[in-house]
């Protein structure tokens, strides 16, 4: 661990490399976090199966590539497929738990998460899989800093999807209805918004966003059936650090998390990277709790 730190201090270029690559994966976290924030904000459900939709998006892209299509085509196909999977999940399970106790929806989505992860494990095996897009990579500074082209594409695509979602929510009729429902579902229902339909669209849309993210993950990094939970935890962390409905905050938090995770993976060793993510989440929760408690004291 100390050796790794020493290496880091002796070669500042490496810091740049880790930073850039970390921020590139951070864009994927932003996309998944958008999905989680959407469902959380509108339906007040913490969707633990969010990460599994990312994983499924990756596997759908794998199937697309096996059928002989270009991997980049996998992005829209995964998004559309996940839209329908999300629709199916909402219509079969989620709508029964929307208005109920928080723990019931939490446990129901946890069950979905186990179900999807184990189903994928049975169908595709537990191996780590990836797709070679054959796009090559650029290198800078005497090839100390290298950038895979697909990661850069993934970065900008993720930001573009996030921007498109933002425009959709602000400008379109459906987007306005979604925002109205999230502010007050009862009032929205009185004003003639079919909240059931809005919930369906919201949930499917969030699954589709995650599907697109997963498609980028399998091209730029790799997927395996149990990749879901870390993605859920990461998006949860990004959302609570940024606060619900704070879009610039989500971007900063996502990029920061990506960079921090990459540094931790280098310093502690990659076998502790997942442990780092989960520990960080626990510390974020504790820190948030301390802040809330202090605010409560001032109120007294």
């Amino acid at each position: 661990m100390l050796d790794n730190l020493a290496i880091l201090f002796n070669t500042p270029v490496l810091i740049v490399d880790l930073m850039i690559n970390g921020m590139l994966i951070g864009a994927i976290f932003i996309l998944a976090a958008y999905g989680m924030a959407l469902v959380w904000g509108v339906m007040n459900i913490i969707n633990v199966s969010q990460g599994e939709y990312v994983m499924l998006g990756g596997y759908i892209t794998l199937v697309v590539v096996k059928l002989g299509l270009h991997p980049l085509l996998g992005i829209p196909i995964a998004a559309i497929a996940l839209y329908f999977i999300g629709w199916l999940m909402y219509r079969s399970i989620i709508y029964r738990v929307v208005d109920r106790d928080v723990f019931i929806s939490l446990l129901a989505t946890f069950g979905i998460s186990i179900f999807l992860a184990q189903l994928t494990n049975q169908l595709f095996g537990a191996d780590v899989q990836t797709i070679d897009t054959k796009l090559g990579s650029w290198s800078f500074m005497n090839s100390m800093v290298s950038l895979a082209v697909i990661k850069v594409i993934a970065f900008f695509l993720a930001l573009a999807f996030g921007f498109a979602l933002w425009v959709f929510l602000k400008k379109s009729r459906t987007g306005q209805a979604i925002r109205a429902t999230s502010q007050n579902a009862r009032a929205a229902r009185i004003l003639g918004i079919d909240t059931h339909r809005i919930y369906t669209i919201t949930y499917s849309l969030s699954a589709a966003l995650c599907g697109a993210a997963g498609s980028l993950v399998v091209m730029a990094w790799a997927v395996h059936p149990y990749i879901g939970l870390p993605y859920t935890i990461r998006s949860f962390m990004v959302v609570i650090v940024a606060g619900l409905g704070n879009l610039p905050g989500v971007i900063v938090a996502g990029l920061g998390l990506g960079a921090a995770e990459n540094f931790a993976g280098f310093i502690l060793g990659t076998e502790f990277q997942i442990a780092f993510v989960f520990l960080l989440m626990i510390f974020v929760l504790i820190w948030r709790n301390r802040r809330l408690r202090r605010r409560r004291k001032y109120l007294k």
Partner: protein, 324 residues
């Protein structure tokens, strides 16, 4: 329940390993399931703090006991019993340390935080060479025949399940039970009424840790191999089962988790082999079905169906409804 009901249960439990000698290990696991469900229900059912992370105490107990047996050089039985005690102690200490920080959170923050905790524990144990890292740890072998060994572990688990049940019964009927039920119903009001909520929450968490930490060592010895992610910090098996069993039986009561554990374990032993390889897929589906369609559990359903006959059972759910 009258006294002779308990007597029949006791007689059945004592004679079971001799009536069904081929199923001794499964019967021992039945009592383990009862302990798991009961200890989860202290937090999840009685106090309303739904934890996904109680499994860490189970794993801590298992590792502490196995490491103690490996390094102390004591004889098997002394090593095992002392190790189980030490495992319980370690679990309690860790519960006290993290309890204060963690139990300030509420609702889904607490649930996700504990979920994270259980994964962290598995990942860290898988990277620590002193306790065998990812390749696991093998506790010492039982000195004796296999059938004798199974009877020994059966009674070990049965006695601990009995102790767990009786101490929870004793604890729930006193002030402690009232206080944690008050926390479940409305924490702010409970605090305003002068209950030291943090103290009670940490006590409940510690109690849960004690029962799990002690039995963990025994389970490690019975299974005979400790793997960080599949046995000790097994979020996908024991960790989920304990929640599922408590909800299936009816959370927030003393008998609910016991009934849920027995039904779940028996069905699992009878039918699980039919789903060869698909068990965990079926588990995910089962969680969804039970949680969505049957959240009150068997006891809750019985109570709704026969409100008069079930009155003498621990009627916390009814109390809960009156308050809302």
């Amino acid at each position: 329940m009258r006294a002779w009901h308990y007597l029949i249960i006791l007689l059945l439990a004592v004679s079971a390993p001799f009536i069904l000698p081929d199923y001794r290990t499964q019967l021992a696991f039945l009592w383990l399931m009862v302990i798991l469900a009961l200890s989860w229900d202290i937090m999840g059912g009685q106090m309303g703090y739904n934890s996904f992370g109680n499994i860490i105490f189970f794993g801590i107990g298992m590792y502490v006991c196995a490491v103690f047996q490996r390094d102390s050089g004591l004889e098997y039985f002394q090593g095992l019993l002392l190790g189980m005690g030490l495992g319980g102690l370690a679990a309690v200490i860790i519960a006290l340390i993290i309890g204060n920080a963690l139990l300030g959170m509420r609702g889904h923050y607490f649930a996700i935080g504990t979920l994270g905790l259980s994964v962290v524990a598995g990942e860290l144990a898988g990277g620590w060479d002193y306790i065998g890292a990812g390749s696991g740890l093998t506790p010492p072998l039982y000195p004796g025949e296999i059938s004798e060994r199974n009877v020994f572990f059966y009674f070990l688990f049965f006695v601990w399940a009995g102790i767990t049940f009786v101490s929870l019964w004793w604890v729930y009927r006193g002030r402690f039970g009232l206080a944690i039920n008050a926390i479940r119903d409305n924490e702010d009001k409970a605090e305003a009424m002068g209950i030291y909520t943090t103290r009670y929450k940490v006590s409940a968490w510690t109690l849960s840790a004690l029962f799990l930490g002690v039995i963990g060592g025994g389970v490690g010895n019975l299974i005979g191999f400790i793997d960080p992610k599949d046995v000790a910090f097994s979020g996908a098996t024991f960790g989920v089962w304990m929640i599922l069993m408590a909800i299936l039986g009816g959370k927030g009561s003393l008998w609910g988790p016991v009934i849920g554990a027995i039904i779940f374990h028996v069905t699992q032993e009878l039918f699980w082999t039919l789903f060869l390889g698909w068990q965990r897929v079926a588990l995910g589906l089962l969680i969804v079905l039970i949680v969505v369609f049957f959240p009150e559990g068997i006891l809750g359903w019985l109570r709704q169906r026969y409100p008069h006959r079930m009155r003498d059972a621990n009627n916390s759910t009814e109390k809960n409804k009156l308050n809302k």
